[in-house]
Structures are given as C-alpha cells and as structure tokens.
C-alpha cells in the first residue's frame, strides 16, 4: 500500500510542478493557521516584552508565574483591550481599562472575586466575601474616607505575579506575611500619619510563635492575619483578645476562666492573655514569670507580702523544686547509661514525669495552689521510682566493675601459675 502511494505521488509530482507549489503553499498555510490559534496570539505580551522601560516589561515576566494564567486568563481579562491586534491603537479599544486607580483596586479585583457565579467556574469552593470583609477592615474604612495610602489588594497579593497563598513564594504564604504587612507597618514614615507604632513585626520576630514558624517550620503557628484577620484586618478589641488566643490555647483559657482573675480582669477591663504574655512579643513562658522571678508578672498588680503574691511565690517554689528533681533524675539515668547499663525502661517512665511538668505549668492559669501541689506530688512519686531504678542501675554498674576486678585477679593468678609452671617445666630436661 505504501509503495503504491509513494509511486503515485512521485508520478504526479514529476508530471506537474505547479501541483507541487500549491501543495507546499497549502501545507504551509495549513500548519501556520493552527499554530497561531494554539499559540494564542497575545499582542499585549508580545509588545510589552520588547519594551525598554523596565516597569512596562515587568508585567510580562511576572505574569508567567501568575495564578490567573493557570486558569486561562490573560491581560485582557482584567485590563480589557484586544490582544489579537498588533497595532497599539487598535489593541487599546473601547473595552480597554488600563491600570486601575489605587482607590478603585478593591472594586477592580472584586468585580470577579466577589462574583460567586463567575468564581464558581474556576473553583466551586472559593470564598467570595473578601471585598465585603475588606470594607469592614481598618484599611477599607480609611479608603472609603478617601485615604488611598492604605493597603489595597495589590499591596498584599502583588500583581502580575500573584501566587496562591499556599505556595511558599507567595507574599501571602504564612512565613512571608509578617514581611508583607511589615512593608507598611514597620515603616515609621508611613505610620506616622496614623500614629501607629511600628515595632510589631520586630516584636513578633522575637516571639515563640515566630520561632515555631521560622525555626520549626510549623505552619500552624499564628502570623499577623491569624489574630488580626486578613481581609477584614483590624486590631482585636480588648475583650476579643482572649477569644483570639483561645482558638489555639483553649485549655489555658478554660483554666483562666475558672480562676479569680477572670472576674477581676473583666471588671477592670484588662485584656486577659495580653496582660501577662504580651501581644506581639509573646516569649516562651517560664517559671520566672511567677512572683519574684526575673520576668515577674504577678508584681504588676499584687504587692509583695499579699496573699496572691505569696501564692505565686509558693507556686514558683513548687516548680523550681520539681524541675530540679526531674533534672537530677535525668542526670542519674545519664550517668548509669554512660556506665553501660540499660536504662530505656526508667527513661520511658520519666517521660510521664515530664508530661506532668507541662500539665502543671498550664495549671498556673487556674491559680489553684492545691491542685498544683497535688499534681506535683504525683509527679514526684514517679520521679522517686525512676530515681530508685537509676540508683539500682548505678549499683549494677559498680557490681560489674567489681566482678571484672575479681575475674581479672583470678585470671592473673592463673597466668602467674601458668608462668611458674612453664618455668618449672623448662628447668626440667625436655621430656
């Protein structure tokens, strides 16, 4: 079959050169046409790519990674215009919107992102309330009042290179958020007008939350938007702070609510968690935060010598004693282990005592000294058992060394005896 076709073709080709020409032309046009369609002619990109001005060329480079592009959207979907037209004048037709004004950006983005009918097409579950929330935020509030300096969509999400928030390079990815917010909120000149401090990001970076996020790569650690909200961002009110913290620290919150502090704080209008732990610069809590400690928080309200202060003092003493006990048990086991004795069993048991420490420290929120003492006693019992095992292990190590000495003594005596026997045999004539 193949042979026949090629023979026929050869015959027709050689017989008629005109046929060859038109065939070739048709082929070229045939190939060129689908190419242009599948290549999706985009005069915007083509033209802007060649421009000298950096700011006009940047959109093309950025857009390559943009999330909108992945959904098949392009320049004209936001800016309007006709991408099939090479001529600039024709390209910028009636529908051309150009660069939106800063103050109009929320509505610009919202024209799609707040339209659930439209967004459903791309992602049936995507939220469409961002614009609505934005108007409730401090940023939205001020924008409505005419201040175009505040943050709009593009300030946080970028433009022409917007990535989904769960992409590590996105400006809205968890560990990039402090930097994104900090662009304005750490800038003294920007914030001077509003009278807002600019130390929040720096404070945050020293906090235990930042440590969890940046050092331990724990993405569940809170960043700015987890406490302030993202589109509806505003500082939480005094009464709200506690609810914000309780989202992740409910047990501390529950215990606090059972303590006498709750009524006192509510009555005085003091924010619950913040009074002792701070807001941005939340450091890892230590026993030193209790009465007479280096970072004493009890002393903020209670004078030394009063019952509350003394209770705090007693709690601290309990903790310090327990921690020392735990440490000495650990050291004991380490010593035994270094001497070669197997102590994985007692080490396992000691974990229980360590868990008790975490539990008991949390109990400080409840301010019940009796409960703390009870739990610590339980923990101390476990430590006692572990210490007994540790001592037994050290005894075993000593026993081993003694046994070795005894066996070695016998061996040396035997060696000596052998040596004497050899000498004796050698002194005799060889038999």
């Amino acid at each position: 079959m193949e042979e026949r076709t090629s023979v026929l073709m050869q015959e027709s080709m050689t017989k008629n050169p005109a046929k060859i020409f038109f065939f070739a032309l048709g082929l070229t046009l045939l190939l060129a046409f689908p190419l242009s369609v599948h290549g999706q002619k985009n005069s915007c990109l083509e033209c802007h790519r060649e421009l000298d001005e950096e700011s006009l060329r940047a959109p093309v480079e950025g857009f390559a990674a943009d999330i909108h592009r992945q959904f098949g959207l392009s320049c004209q979907d936001c800016h309007g215009g006709n991408p099939l037209q090479d001529d600039v004048g024709l390209a910028k037709d009636k529908s051309f919107k150009g660069t939106p004004q800063r103050a109009k950006i929320p509505e610009f983005c919202g024209s799609c992102h707040a339209d659930s009918e439209y967004m459903k097409r791309f992602n049936p579950n995507i939220r469409v309330d961002q614009l609505q929330l934005y108007w409730t935020s401090k940023h939205g509030e001020l924008l409505r009042k005419g201040d175009a300096h505040v943050a709009v969509c593009t300030d946080c999400h970028g433009f022409h290179g917007i990535q989904a928030a769960n992409f590590p390079k996105s400006s809205t990815f968890a560990w990039n958020i402090p930097q994104t917010c900090g662009r304005c909120h750490s800038n003294a000149d920007e914030m001077k007008v509003y009278g807002i401090p600019t130390n929040q990001v720096d404070d945050y970076k020293q906090s235990v939350h930042a440590h969890a996020l940046y050092e331990q790569k724990d993405l569940s650690a809170p960043v700015c938007n987890d406490c302030h909200g993202n589109h509806g961002a505003s500082p939480p009110e005094v009464t709200s702070i506690a609810f914000v913290c309780r989202k992740c620290h409910p047990s501390a919150g529950d215990l606090f609510s059972q303590s006498p502090h709750k009524a006192a704080f509510d009555g005085l209008g003091i924010s619950e968690c913040e009074a002792c732990h701070g807001n941005h610069k939340i450091l890892p809590p230590t026993d030193e935060m209790l009465a007479s400690g280096r970072s004493d928080v009890c002393g903020q309200c209670h004078d030394a010598g009063t019952l509350p202060y003394d209770t705090g003092l007693k709690m601290k003493q309990q903790f310090v004693g327990y921690v020392a006990s735990l440490q000495s048990a650990n050291d004991l086991l380490d010593r035994a282990e270094k001497r070669g004795v197997e102590v994985s069993g007692p080490k396992f048991k000691l974990q229980e005592a360590s868990t008790t420490l975490i539990l008991v420290r949390n109990l400080t929120h409840e301010l019940s000294l009796s409960e703390i003492e009870e739990k610590i006693d339980e923990g101390k019992k476990v430590i006692g058992e572990v210490k007994a095992s540790g001592e037994a292990a050290l005894k075993e190590a000593k026993f081993r060394k003694t046994g070795l000495v005894v066996a070695t003594v016998f061996i040396f005596l035997l060696a000596l005896a052998l040596y004497l026997k050899i000498r004796e045999l050698q002194s005799k004539p060889a038999s």
């Binding site: 992740c248 620290h249 047990s251 529950d254 868990t355 975490i358 539990l359 949390n362 046994g403 005896a417």
Partner: protein
C-alpha cells in the same frame, strides 16, 4: 610442701577460681529472669475485666505510651498515646467520650481523627486482641 606441689596447687586453685568467675555469670544468665520474656510487637495492655466501660488505661507500647479504651458499649480500642502535635501524652475523657491532650487541648474522636485543637494528624489506631484473659495490643499491619 615442695615447690612443685605448690605450683600445682596454685595452678589448680587459680584455675578453679577463674572457672568459677566464668561459671557464675553463665549460671545466673541461665536462671529465668523476673520478666519472663521479651516484649514483642504484641503488648499486654490489661487483663479482661480490669477496665470498666467508658474508661481507659495508659500502658507501655514498646518505648512509647499507648491508650487502651473500653467504650461505654464495651468495645476495646487501642491508640498511640503520643499526641501528634507536640508529643504530650493524651488521656481519655469519659464525659465527652473523646481522647484529649492536656497540653494544648487537642481533641480526638474514637477513630483517632482530630476534632479540635492544634494536632495536625490523627492518632494512630492499634489492633486490640483478647487472648484468654489477656488483652493484647499490636500495630496494625
């Protein structure tokens, strides 16, 4: 006693002593230890009837803690007791019939799934097997 006899006695005596110092550990070794056998993949968690319905017990599973729960319907469930958040030991809370972690109040249902709180992953469930009067817990295949 002549020299030869002394050397022989010395040799014999020290030989016996040396043999003794070898035999003593071997004999002690052969005598069955207190704990009859090595802990295997299957760990004896409790005896039948030890746990009342709607209660639980923590036990050692290899080198980490595990939880044996007797539900109110009488079903036996086994889970690792190591919280998937920051490895604190979890407990069973009978009034809510959930497993909770006292450190940051992570909460798991009786399938091990996270209901609330910071734990990122569910609790690994173990196989529970009753053999005679003993309840054995082992890892799922």
């Amino acid at each position: 006693m002549n020299r030869r006899r002394f050397v022989n006695l010395f040799l014999g005596g020290s030989l016996l002593g040396t043999l003794g110092s070898f035999l003593y550990p071997v004999i002690r070794y052969l005598i069955p230890p207190r704990q009859a056998e090595a802990l295997a993949k299957k760990f004896m968690a409790a005896k039948v009837g030890e746990l009342a319905p709607n209660s639980a017990k923590l036990f050692r599973f290899g080198s980490s803690p595990a939880l044996l729960i007797n539900t109110s319907e009488g079903t036996l469930l086994g889970f690792t007791a190591v919280c998937t958040h920051l490895t604190c030991t979890v407990h069973y809370e009978s009034d809510t019939a959930t497993i909770y972690c006292p450190c940051h109040n992570g909460r798991f249902d009786l399938s091990g799934n996270v209901i609330s709180g910071p734990p990122p992953r569910p609790l690994e469930e173990y196989n529970v097997e009753v053999v005679g009067n003993d309840i054995y817990v082992s890892k799922k295949a």
